[in-house]
């Protein structure tokens, strides 16, 4: 699932002409004291549940807001919406892989030096860098015993698709 997450992160930001590249943790603490916004969205499927986290520096939130045509006051909303689009894309990928999930709505917090406490053994941060900024994201899926992929049904609509009935 981490590979899917990395792929959709790169795809999402490319769609906004914001190129990102995977990178090592920017510091021993990850984004560390630079973390300014953190958005979380819960997801649940048949035998799997977890939370997607998207953490951003202030410079990252400003860059995304600008790319999306927003204003300074929209920073928190932008990080929440990008986490929503990230998980939305991931949902399509997982559906193709036989892991259908349903999504909650984003919860976003803002502050200086935000930190996340996670249980040992959960998934790891995936870090990316853009021009002068960093982001981190993680999925933390928890699979129940006996979890099995489902048979894949019809292909989901992809980002940018538009269907008129």
């Amino acid at each position: 699932m981490d590979q899917h997450l990395m792929d959709v992160a790169i795809e999402l930001f490319a769609a906004y002409d914001v190129p990102i590249a995977q990178c090592a943790a920017p510091s021993e603490e990850g984004l560390g004291r630079e973390t300014y916004c953190m958005s979380s969205i819960g997801y649940v499927g048949n035998g799997v549940k977890g939370v997607l986290i998207l953490a951003a520096t202030r410079a990252a939130a400003e860059a995304w807001t600008s790319a999306a045509g927003g204003m300074e006051c929209d920073l928190v909303d932008t990080v929440g919406e990008f986490s929503n689009m990230l998980l939305g894309r991931l949902k399509g990928r997982l559906l193709k892989a036989g892991i259908p999930i349903s999504l909650a709505t984003p919860l976003t917090v803002i502050g200086d030096g935000l930190r996340l406490s996670v249980a040992p053994g959960a998934s790891s941060w995936q870090f990316f860098e853009g021009p002068g900024w960093h982001l981190g994201t993680r999925l933390d899926p928890a699979f129940e015993a006996g979890f099995q992929r489902e048979a894949t049904a019809a292909a989901p609509a992809e980002a940018g698709d538009a269907i008129l009935f």
């Binding site: 929503n84 399509g92 559906l95 049904a153 008129l164 009935f165």
Partner: protein, 123 residues
């Protein structure tokens, strides 16, 4: 002559993007933050010609709003604008009367073309 579009999304950023796209050709835009807010505003805006609606929202999501509108016999066309692409959800929306489904991020020109088809300016 203009036409009113209601944009329903819990993200201020998306509401602004959609509003900007639709105001350019001349649409009047009213924003709502979720299905509950939308129903309250629609009750006082009988001139609404098109609804652009997110799916995942707090309080009342887009599918639940479609159910309410269908039960009310609303004739206002609804286009869903969402990160969701699950075929079952799309079929559910279609069965409830939705006229279209767009997966974010959207192309403004397609949104405007869709609006022009479902709620033409000057009609």
């Amino acid at each position: 002559m203009t036409a009113r579009v209601m944009v329903i999304d819990d993200s201020m950023l998306v509401r602004r993007q959609v509003s900007a796209a639709l105001k350019t050709p001349g649409y009047l835009v009213t924003e709502a933050v979720d299905g509950v807010d939308a129903l309250e505003k629609l009750a006082g805006l009988s001139d609404t010609k098109l609804i652009v609606c997110d799916v995942n929202m707090p309080r009342m999501n887009g599918i639940e709003l479609l159910e309410k509108l269908s039960a009310q016999g609303s004739a206002v066309p609804v286009v869903m604008l969402t990160t969701e692409g699950q075929p079952e959800l799309i079929q559910r929306a279609r069965s409830l009367g939705a006229k279209g489904w767009i997966v974010k991020p959207f192309k403004p020109e397609f949104l405007v073309a869709t609006a022009a088809k479902l709620a033409p300016l000057g009609a």
